[in-house]
Amino acid sequence: MTETASAAAAGDSAADAEKLLEVNNIEVIYNHVILVLKGVSLDVPKGGITALLGGNGAGKTTTLKAISNLLHSERGQVTKGSILYRGESVADLSPEQLVKQGVVQVMEGRHCFEHLTVEENLLTGSYTRRDGKAAINRDLDMVYTYFPRLRERRKSQARYTSGGEQQMCAIGRALMSNPETILLDEPSMGLAPQLVEEIFEIVKKLNEQEGVSILLAEQNTNVALRYAHYGYILESGRVVMDGTASDLRENPDVKEFYLGVAEDGQKSFRNVRSYRRRKRWLS
């Protein structure tokens, strides 16, 4: 557990670091009627890994899409609150402009371009870049160094690669845009525990060595809290708790409801209730 201790220490120092992304009390409505987020606020510090935790339908993906402005193409709208990136509102930016500013999303469920080869997939990630072939090739090499498996599979069509390779391909593709912040949506989905561990290790390395800030949405609370510095817990569209990863890990409620261990070391199914303590905005 030494590595997690150091991660937690880094988290404490990151708390004072510069805020890269600020989400202030946003409300999101789909199709003009379906209210999904009912006031979510969070900060992503520069150089940190921030986790967004919660069960199905809690609003993790919607939060990420609200930030990357992918909501519009799904008929969703931010109706209240504001999202600031480096102090400037992102409301009027297209996803393309956001990528150019350094915010890129890795979507839930991989979404690789099936008919393109792995290398072509990676290269599409550099679509918005204007800094020349040499720089792009350098980054391609960097991605292959982090994900050696992708180098082996570079000529195969993405649809014939395994789920883990597709997840790596999706992360690598996002890296190719030379991002400052990656919004990483559920990288563990449908992967074997060992592979999840492998991918999180690489994400952590990217964060430490390349200085990429990461906002991570995850259902796998256990893994996420081991790699993240700071965490927010979402429940039906609201942030119900936040704190440094180490605090959250030790919190008895988190232990019971999200990590599946009660005080006596056993999960009590008898008193299952959901945890609803609202964060107070106007304190």
């Binding site: 992918l70 519009h72 799904e74 979404h111 290269l123 996002a174």
Partner: protein
């Protein structure tokens, strides 16, 4: 060689040439379908519109002449100049690109993430709009399109092959229309350049990415709106080429837009998502209908060319609905 055998060869060759013409139309459908999942009903009308515009520009017609004359009591029809063919083609291309931009601005932008059937309905509306627009701009009379493409039988080929038949067999050499030969060359060049473009350029790669997954393309910063303009502009270009070839062959008038119907069986055969499929599908239909007409037609009273392609398409729909080269339809559960 027996005359019958030589006739068969001639029929096959002519079938191939006719097939190329079908493929040209089918190509436009495939391009748009691949990139945006839209079956573009307006493709045939786009070909007609492009051909009309080309003739109009070339002959120095005043666009909307009838409208202007009716409104202001003037009697203008022509500017009084003619534009060289190449220049007219370039100007037509500009018009088609403007059209692509307008379609994106006015129609597609508002229909993002809608069901394919809704987009399909929108293209039906677009087809009727363009048809009327074409008539309004350039008049609805039959026009001849002449941009200096060679036409008529290829005497050279006839002379070279006349010796193949036996003495007194009545065989005068293989007959192929020169226009068909040109069309083949053009189609070949078009397919090669489209393939190179989509395989080896950054924009081509982005086009294929959008065809695979709209959302993911957005997430990596590819602008769907820009890509759709590019796709519709390319489809407009292909429609123009098809319009030129068919217009030169059979004149520019309303029935030109109906060639789109002949492209449908080609698409069903080749698969909606495959560029090579569009070509090979066209060739199979072309050769198939000519051979059928030649060999079986006389037994059942002829005129089989009108329906053969559709029956063949029906057979394909029953036994291989994804077409020869289309993606296998796999339902995942």
């Amino acid at each position: 060689m027996s005359a019958n055998f030589l006739y068969t060869i001639e029929v096959i060759l002519n079938g191939l040439m006719a097939g190329v013409m079908y493929s040209l139309v089918a190509l436009g459908f495939v391009l748009i379908f691949k990139a945006s999942g839209i079956f573009n009903y307006a493709q045939g009308v786009m070909a007609l519109f492009a051909a009309m515009t080309l003739v109009g520009i070339q002959q120095g017609q005043v666009p909307f002449a009838h409208l202007i004359n009716a409104a202001f009591g003037t009697k203008i029809h022509h500017f009084g100049w003619t534009v060289p063919a190449l220049m007219a083609i370039l100007l037509t291309l500009v018009v088609m690109i403007l059209f692509a931009i307008l379609v994106e601005r006015i129609v597609l932008k508002h229909l993002v993430n809608q069901e394919p059937i809704i987009l399909f309905m929108a293209t039906i509306g677009l087809a009727y709009f363009m048809e009327g627009m074409g008539d309004l701009m350039w008049g609805s009379e039959l026009k001849t399109l002449d941009i200096g493409l060679p036409s008529g039988g290829s005497l050279w080929l006839e002379e070279a092959t006349v010796g193949w038949g036996a003495e007194g067999s009545g065989f005068y050499g293989l007959f192929i229309d020169k226009l068909d030969i040109v069309a083949t060359g053009v189609a070949l060049a078009l397919v090669i350049s489209l393939t190179l473009f989509s395989q080896y350029t950054k924009t081509g790669r982005a086009l294929r990415a959008v065809a695979d997954d709209h959302q993911a393309a957005l997430s990596v910063g590819i602008s769907l709106r820009k890509i759709w303009v590019i796709v519709w502009a390319i489809a407009g270009f292909v429609a123009m080429v098809a319009g030129i070839m068919w217009g030169a062959k059979s004149g520019v008038q309303f029935s030109l837009s109906l060639i789109a119907l002949k492209a449908l069986p080609v698409l069903i055969l080749g698969g909606f998502t495959s560029i090579p499929g569009a070509i090979i599908g066209g060739l199979i239909i072309g050769v198939g209908e000519k051979l059928f007409e030649f060999s079986i037609g006389p037994m059942i009273g002829g005129a089989t060319e009108n329906w053969f392609a559709y029956v063949l398409a029906l057979v394909f729909l029953i036994f291989r609905p994804q077409g020869l080269f289309g993606d296998k339809i796999i339902e995942r559960v």
